[in-house]
């Protein structure tokens, strides 16, 4: 029985210890913004933060987050996240949208570490997140746009 901080609130869950965090958050805690895309850390649709760092929640056992803090798309906030979302909306990045929670989590993590990423930085940070609609070009532009916004 794991206990952890989810988006700033303490939760205690009944799921078995080996249950991936993704399914605990989605099925037991009812937050559905993080998506199931591959179940094998191949696509990034399930990206959450563990202690502020992006992780693949589909391969992270819930017992491994015991006592730690987890952030999902629903709890993603702050100036960087706001700039990212605003850029996504301004550029109409989304198509089917299913991968975009993970894309936004990855992009926000990148911009939080690297305020003005180069195209190579963006490639490195984003190439683990698949988008089958292939919205990659707009994601790249949106990351640059958000970076500009944050510069003020």
């Amino acid at each position: 029985m794991a206990k952890f901080q989810l988006n700033g609130r303490e939760v205690t869950v009944a799921s078995e210890d080996d249950t991936p965090l993704l399914w605990v958050v989605r099925d037991e805690l009812g937050l559905i913004g993080s998506k199931f895309g591959c179940g094998a850390a191949q696509c990034g649709a399930c990206t959450m933060y563990l202690e502020g760092q992006p992780i693949r929640s589909c391969v992270t056992a819930v017992s491994d987050v015991d006592g730690k803090s987890v952030t999902t798309i629903e709890g993603l906030s702050g100036p960087v996240a706001e700039a990212v979302r605003a850029a996504w909306q301004k550029l109409d990045v989304v198509q089917c949208g299913y991968c975009q929670s993970g894309q936004i989590m990855a992009a926000t993590a990148l911009l939080s570490e690297t305020a003005a990423p180069t195209d190579d930085d963006i490639d490195s940070a984003m190439s683990g997140n698949i988008c089958r609609c292939n919205t990659y070009q707009r994601i790249r532009t949106a990351i640059h746009t958000a970076s500009e916004t944050l510069k003020g």
Partner: protein, 733 residues
């Protein structure tokens, strides 16, 4: 502690089935406001309208709702899997209604073939890049009719002449009088519905052609958008299904003891499709299935591997097939040619691999089935579910949800994963909602692929390299034969989707002969974004390029010389070449290739610029030119072409599904590789201004990218890639 998802947007199984009669009642008898649809000249429906006392001479379908809360709800009859049709159809209504964009809300229409059929298909469904094209007049008329009724209601309320009433951005006014749509909605509901409302002319458009923002961006950037995978209902069980590893295999025996011992597993049942594990959570259903021991009977399974299939297909290519086109005498022309180019092309099976794996929620209670799923062919899904459960199609209620991609996968002629869900519902006899979930492994291994195709092409050239004759055989599975779509697609045994893009080539070739062999193979075939054009455009556009190169002619100029009777092809080709700077030399180390192709009545040319990096092609830039008729939302057209280019590029570079002894080799995105972020080229899309009726855009960006890149590779390396993907067919360094 956390609020569960808001279910108020769904229709409960006890909700009113939305048939036309109910709509009329809602519109005329309740305080719900104005509910209206467009005129449709249909015989039976017209009679029904007359019986309802509607003397307007038309039938009005429920495409638009205007409620006292001042919201304009557009009922979207098509599936939105990212291509933006919810925004597109809303644009058409908002345009003629003169609504304010902020008050427009798309909502998926219920399953009702009479009201919501695709006017090109005759059934309710989305596909073939037809959503805007078939709805263009229908949704505009709905908006125009609603506007006329608001105007009439306002004129009556204010005692003014209707001609003095103006509508702009959701406000109705005349002189000092002014009211919102919401304020007029109830009055407007009792106005006569105009039989043939006047539509705007192009110079009056305020929304069409102006790229208003998508109506789904906010929910898709906050994690709030609900897909089928996210549906959670009280008492719901989650199911996984163990399917035969080989196509055509059946269950011989099952030992489910270990599966049942998994905490959360509540049931294991055998169904016509395999063995289902039902659990109280997704993970328990997955874990339970892992613990199943199933013996499979392969006596009816296809045991062949890819190598065997390719060998058989090549052998078939030696023999005459069904004739798809015969013009002049290609055989005689080849016999007297100075040079004959002979080439075999091999295209692999391809999975669609949308980001949201297949899934369906179904509840069967009190003789009625309620579905929550990203339905793409609602009428087929209704019929299949009804047949399995022994009820009438109208007793199948479908809540069409936003779909996490499709690329053709959800538009299945046998509703495969919906049929699986109905099979589980039937086998268990349970009345709780059941959500069937496919894993990614199920998706990659589960069939419904772009079929494996072999093309054999022989082109006879004269002494100056001119094309004397073209002989072309295509070998592969027919997608349509044996499906409800056969009558519409197959003619004299020739499946139009197998030969489209070759048999109807626009190039001026005087002796042309095209044949097809329809093969049988285990993996079920399916349309994959741009269908036959995924392989035919590649063959035609690389072969034409090869002929141009042999003649030492410029690839653009050579194509133009063969396209004199096809000005729309020629126009996009010229535009793409101009915008790409085709007439100027490329930078050092950069090689260019071009392709032009028509699909779904739209015309797209693409120029690709590549470098060879680490013995592999790296596509750096793609310039596309598009003619898809009148551009409803130019930014969305660009988005679709950008996405189509990435989708097609990933396939030609990496993607393949292969079989060994009948079992699929790949399982997840590590084996089935698709385009990743760092491989996405810079894409520019230029739209040719047009007043022609709008045509498809979801798919037409895909076909030219493969051959454009292949032609650039040939320009840079001299290699003509004829075995796809490039990972298999291109050997450098």
């Amino acid at each position: 502690m956390y609020g569960r998802m808001d279910l108020s947007q769904f229709r409960a199984d006890t909700a009113l089935a939305l048939d036309r009669r109910n709509f009329v009642r809602l519109a005329l008898g309740s305080g719900a406001g104005l509910v209206i649809g467009a005129w449709l000249p249909a015989g039976s429906a017209r009679a029904e309208a007359a019986a309802q006392g509607n003397e307007s001479g038309g039938v009005f379908m429920p495409f638009v709702k205007i409620t006292p809360d001042n919201v304009v709800t557009v009922l979207v009859k098509h599936q939105d899997k990212g291509q933006g049709v919810a925004t597109g159809l809303s644009t058409l209504v908002a345009e003629e209604l003169d609504a304010d964009w902020a008050q427009v809300k798309p909502e998926f229409a219920p399953a009702n073939v009479e009201l919501y059929k695709n006017l090109f298909f005759g059934v309710q469904g989305t596909g073939g890049s037809t959503a805007i094209a078939n709805s263009f007049e229908q949704y505009r008329k709905a908006g125009a009719a609603a506007r006329a009724m608001l105007v009439e209601a306002a004129a009556k309320r204010w005692g003014v002449d209707a001609a003095s009433v103006k509508v702009a951005k959701g406000v109705v006014s005349s002189g000092a009088n002014s009211a919102t749509f919401g304020e007029l909605a109830k009055d407007a509901a009792s106005m006569a519905v105009p039989a043939d409302p006047k539509l705007k002319t192009a110079d009056e458009f305020v929304y069409i052609g102006k790229s208003f923002p998508r109506l789904d961006s906010v929910q898709k950037t906050t994690g709030a958008r609900i897909y089928t995978q996210d549906v959670q209902l009280p008492g719901m069980l989650v199911a996984t299904l163990a399917r035969s590893p080989r196509f055509g295999g059946t269950v011989q025996s099952v030992d489910d003891k270990a599966a049942r011992a998994v905490k959360g597993v509540v049931d294991v049942v055998q169904t016509p499709h395999g063995v289902a594990v039902l659990a109280t959570s997704t993970y328990a259903a997955i874990k339970g299935r892992d613990q199943l021991a199933v013996s499979w009977d392969d006596s009816k399974a296809d045991m062949r591997g890819t190598d065997a299939l390719v060998a058989e297909y090549k052998a078939l290519a030696d023999k005459p097939g069904l004739v798809a086109r015969n013009e002049g005498d290609a055989t005689a022309a080849l016999a007297k040619a100075d040079k004959v180019i002979e080439a075999d092309y091999i295209f692999p099976f391809l999975a669609h691999a949308p980001m949201e794996p297949m899934n369906c929620v179904m509840q069967f209670k009190d003789g009625r089935a309620t579905l929550w799923t990203g339905s793409q062919l609602q009428t087929v899904d209704q019929n299949v579910t009804a047949a399995i459960l022994g009820i009438k199609p109208e007793d199948v209620v479908i809540n069409t949800l936003w779909a996490g991609g499709s690329f053709g996968r959800r538009g299945v002629y046998n509703s495969d994963y919906i049929a699986e869900t109905a099979g589980i519902v039937k086998a268990t006899g349970r009345s709780e909602p059941i959500k069937l979930v496919w894993t990614r492994e199920d998706d990659i291994k589960g069939g419904y692929y772009r079929p494996l195709y072999v093309h054999r092409v022989k082109v006879g050239l004269g002494k100056d390299g001119e094309i004397l004759g073209w002989h072309h055989r295509i070998v592969g599975q027919s997608i349509a034969i044996g499906t409800p779509f056969e009558a519409a697609i197959v003619k004299d045994g020739v499946d139009g989707t197998s030969v489209e893009g070759v048999a109807d080539t626009p190039y001026a070739i005087s002796n042309m002969h095209v044949e097809v062999h329809n093969t049988k193979a285990g993996p079920p075939p399916l349309w994959w974004r741009s269908v036959g054009h995924t392989h035919t455009a590649y063959v035609m556009e690389t072969m034409i390029d090869e002929i141009a190169a042999l003649q030492k002619k410029d690839p653009v100029a050579f194509r133009l010389s063969l396209l004199e009777k096809h000005p729309r092809h020629a126009a996009v080709l010229k535009l793409a070449a101009e915008k790409a700077g085709w007439d100027k030399p490329a930078a050092d180390g950069v090689f260019r290739g071009v392709a032009v192709h028509e699909s779904f009545k739209s015309f797209v040319a693409e120029v690709a610029e590549i470098r060879i990096v680490d013995s592999k092609p790296k596509v750096e830039r793609v310039v596309a030119a598009v003619d898809c008729g009148l551009a409803i939302n130019p930014d969305n057209i660009k988005a679709q072409v950008e996405g189509g280019i990435g989708f097609g590029l990933g396939a030609v570079l990496h993607s393949k599904v292969t079989l060994k002894d009948g079992v699929v080799d790949q399982a997840n995105f590590d084996g089935y590789e698709v385009l990743r972020f760092n491989e996405m080229p810079k894409v520019e899309v230029h739209i040719l201004p047009s007043a022609a009726p709008p045509t498809g855009i979801g798919e037409p960006g895909v076909p030219p990218i493969g051959p454009a890149v292949a032609n650039a590779v040939a320009a840079g390396t001299g290699q003509r890639v004829r075995v796809l993907p490039f990972a298999d067919g291109l050997k450098l360094g």
